[in-house]
C-alpha cells in the first residue's frame, strides 16, 4: 500500500514491520519525529516493543548494546551531536558484534550549531566497524531499514541507515509499505548465537590481553588483535551478504538491485557525478539537462559507504573519462573522505579517470540545481586545472 509520509515515518514504518523488540529513544533534530512515531506505535499497541525514553544518546546506545547482548532485536536513532555523543558506544557495539540497527538523519555538527543537513556526522564515524548504508528517497529508507536488520543479524555487525536530515527526514513523498506477512517471511525472528543467559553463564566483552591465551579447555583463545582483525575481515565479507540480501529482498518485494552503487545514464557516459544520499537523485535532473545539450554524463549514488565496496566502485568508474565526487563532508585538513576513498579504489585500475572533488551543502546550504550544473561544466572544461584541492560549491566568501 502506498502512503505519503515523511522520511522519518518511512523509517519508523520499517522498524515497526521489522518487529523490533527494544527501542531506545532520545530526541534530536531532525531525527525526532522518527522516535515520536515509534512511541505512538508502541503506545497504541501497533508494535509490541519495549520503548525506553533514555536520558542521553550515550545511554540510548548502552540500552541497545545491553538489550542486543540479552538477545532482543534492538533499535535507536539519532543525528549529528547525538551520534558523536555515542561515539565510544558505537565502537563498543561493533567490537561486541551486536546486530543493532540505528537510523541517522544526517545533520551537520557543531560548532557552530546547525540543525541542517550534511554528512559530517556519519562520515566522521566511518572507522567504527559499523556498516553504513545511505538512502536517496523514502522508499529506500523504508526498504533499507528492513534489509539492515537482516544484514546485521547475518553478519553480527551493527548497521547505520543514513538519510539526509530535513531533505529526506522531513519531506513527504509516496512510498510502498508491504504487508506484515511479507516482511515476516523475509526477516525471521532474531536468534543470537550467544546471549546473556544464566543457564550458560558467560562474561561478555571482558578485558582481552594483547596476546593469545589458552582457555579452560586448553584451546587457544584469541587476543585483542585477532578479534579486531576478524571484525575487519567480516566487514569485508559482509559485502557478499549485502548483495545476497538485496537479491532476496528483490525477490520478495520486487524492489532493489544495484546493492552498492546506483547508476543513472552511465552506460555511454564520458563523465560521472558520484555522491551519497538524496543529492544523487537531484543530480539526475542535471544529468538530463546536460545530456540534452550533448554532454555524455551520468550519475552514481553510493549506497554502501562502509564496508567500502571498492571493487564495485572501480568497476563502475574505470570506463569513464572523469569522475566528479560531490560530498557533504570533509576530512578537515585533507580532502573529502569519499573522494579519497574513490581515488584509493581506482588506484589499482589499469586506466584511471580523472577525479575531482566538490564540497556542497554543508550545514544545509541550499544546493541549487544550477550550482551542480556549473560545477560539472567547470570540472569537465578545466580537467587539467583542477587539482586535488576540494572545490567549494555555492560558497559566498
Amino acid at each position: 500500500m502506498h502512503v505519503i509520509e515523511s522520511g522519518n515515518v518511512a523509517a519508523a514504518t520499517g522498524v515497526k514491520l521489522a518487529r523490533v523488540q527494544v527501542i531506545a529513544a532520545y530526541p534530536i533534530t531532525p531525527q525526532t519525529p522518527l522516535t515520536e512515531k515509534l512511541s505512538e506505535f508502541v503506545e497504541s499497541d501497533e508494535l509490541s516493543a519495549e520503548y525506553i525514553p533514555v536520558e542521553s544518546e550515550h545511554s540510548a546506545m548502552a540500552v541497545c548494546i545491553a538489550s542486543s547482548t540479552t538477545g532482543a532485536r534492538s533499535f535507536t536513532a539519532t543525528s549529528a551531536n547525538g551520534l558523536l555523543y555515542m561515539n565510544e558506544q558505537l565502537h563498543w557495539a561493533a567490537g561486541a558484534r551486536l546486530p543493532i540497527v540505528m537510523c541517522v538523519a544526517n545533520r551537520g555538527v557543531g560548532a557552530p550549531w546547525t540543525v541542517w543537513n550534511d554528512h559530517q556526522d556519519t562520515v566522521s564515524q566511518r572507522d567504527l566497524g559499523w556498516i553504513q548504508l545511505y538512502c536517496s528517497d523514502h522508499q529506500q529508507i523504508h526498504d533499507t531499514v528492513l534489509k539492515a536488520f537482516k544484514l546485521a543479524e547475518t553478519v553480527s555487525i551493527p548497521v547505520m541507515v543514513c538519510y539526509d536530515g530535513y531533505l529526506l527526514s522531513h519531506t513527504y513523498m509516496p512510498f510502498d509499505v508491504p504487508e506484515q506477512a511479507q516482511v515476516d517471511a523475509f526477516l525471521p525472528p532474531f536468534k543470537p548465537t550467544h546471549f546473556l543467559n544464566p543457564e550458560e553463564p558467560r562474561n561478555f566483552n571482558t578485558v582481552t590481553l594483547p596476546d593469545v591465551r589458552p582457555d579452560l579447555h586448553g584451546n587457544t583463545a584469541p587476543g585483542y588483535m585477532e578479534i579486531r582483525k576478524t571484525l575487519h575481515s567480516d566487514l569485508r565479507a559482509a559485502l557478499t551478504e549485502i548483495e545476497k540480501i538485496d537479491g532476496e529482498f528483490g525477490e520478495a518485494f520486487g524492489r532493489g538491485g544495484d546493492p552498492f552503487v546506483e547508476p543513472y545514464r552511465c552506460e555511454d557516459a564520458d563523465y560521472v557525478a558520484f555522491c551519497m544520499g538524496s543529492l544523487s537523485y537531484q543530480l539526475r535532473d542535471v544529468v538530463d539537462a546536460m545530456r540534452e545539450e550533448g554532454t555524455k554524463i551520468g550519475v552514481i549514488g553510493l549506497k554502501v559507504y562502509r564496508p567500502f565496496p571498492d571493487a564495485a566502485v572501480r568497476d563502475a568508474l574505470t570506463a569513464h573519462k572523469g569522475v566528479i565526487v560531490f560530498e557533504k563532508a570533509l576530512s578537515y585538513g585533507n580532502q573529502g573522505a569519499l573522494y579519497a576513498d574513490v581515488k584509493s579504489a581506482l588506484y589499482s585500475a589499469e586506466t584511471r579517470p580523472f577525479v575531482h572533488n566538490y564540497i556542497v551543502g554543508l550545514g544545509g546550504r541550499e544546493i541549487k540545481t544550477h550550482h551542480l550544473y556549473d560545477a560539472l561544466t567547470e570540472s569537465i572544461k578545466n580537467e587539467a586545472a583542477i587539482g586535488d584541492e576540494p572545490q567549494w560549491v555555492g560558497l559566498k566568501l
Partner: protein, 187 residues
C-alpha cells in the same frame, strides 16, 4: 529544469497546519495519478506563530529535486494577516494563482497579473463545527475549487483519512463549505 512539475507554496503560521493541508492535497494528487509528489516544510526551527511555508511539488513522473520551490505556480495563504509580513507572491510565475483565506472581499486586493481566489475559511470552519482557528482543511477546499487539481471527492476521502481520529466529518464539511463558497477572480 523540468517543466512538468506543478509547484505550490503554502504560507501559514507555525502550528496552523499548513503541512497537514499540503499533505492532504499531496495524497489526493497522488490518488489522481500524480506519481511524483514531494512536500517539503520549512526546514529548521519552526516556532508557533512565526510565519512558515511549505513546498509541494506534483508531477506525473517521480520528482528527484528536493530543493525548496523558487518559482511557484500557486501560493496558498492560510491567514491574510501574513500579507503584511511576507511577500507571498515572491517568485510566483506570471499568471500564477493565489488562494487566500480572508474575511475581506476579493476587490480589496490587487495582485496585478496574478489570479486571486478568496474564501473566509475561518468563518466557514467555525460554521462546520471546528474550533476557532482551524483553517487547514477549509483552505484546501478553496484550493481544490480554484485550481481544479484534485476532485472534491478525492479531497473528502483524503481529509477523512488524515483526520480519522479528529473530527473527520467536521473537517470534511469545512472543506466542502469552503469549496462551494470560494470566489475566483480573474487575472
Amino acid at each position: 529544469m523540468r517543466q512538468d512539475i506543478i509547484e505550490i507554496r503554502w504560507h501559514g503560521r507555525g502550528g496552523q497546519g499548513a503541512i497537514t493541508a499540503a499533505k492532504i492535497v499531496a495524497n489526493a494528487a497522488f490518488k489522481s495519478g500524480y506519481n511524483g509528489v514531494v512536500m517539503a516544510p520549512t526546514f529548521g526551527t519552526e516556532r508557533r506563530g512565526a510565519p512558515v511555508y511549505t513546498s509541494l511539488k506534483i508531477a506525473r513522473e517521480k520528482i528527484y529535486d528536493l530543493s525548496p520551490i523558487a518559482t511557484p505556480d500557486m501560493v496558498v495563504v492560510l491567514d491574510h494577516t501574513l500579507l503584511e509580513e511576507v511577500d507571498v507572491t515572491h517568485g510566483l510565475k506570471e499568471g500564477g494563482q493565489i488562494i487566500l483565506n480572508t474575511p475581506k472581499s476579493i476587490d480589496s486586493y490587487d495582485f496585478g497579473a496574478h489570479r486571486l481566489s478568496v474564501a473566509d475559511v475561518t468563518a466557514y470552519a467555525l460554521e462546520a463545527g471546528l474550533a476557532p482557528g482551524i483553517v487547514n482543511t477549509g483552505v484546501i477546499g478553496a484550493f481544490a475549487k480554484a485550481t481544479g487539481l484534485v476532485s472534491r471527492e478525492l479531497l473528502r476521502e483524503a481529509i477523512r483519512h488524515e483526520f480519522s481520529a479528529m473530527k473527520p466529518e467536521e473537517n470534511a464539511r469545512a472543506a466542502a463549505l469552503t469549496y462551494d463558497r470560494t470566489v475566483i477572480g480573474g487575472a
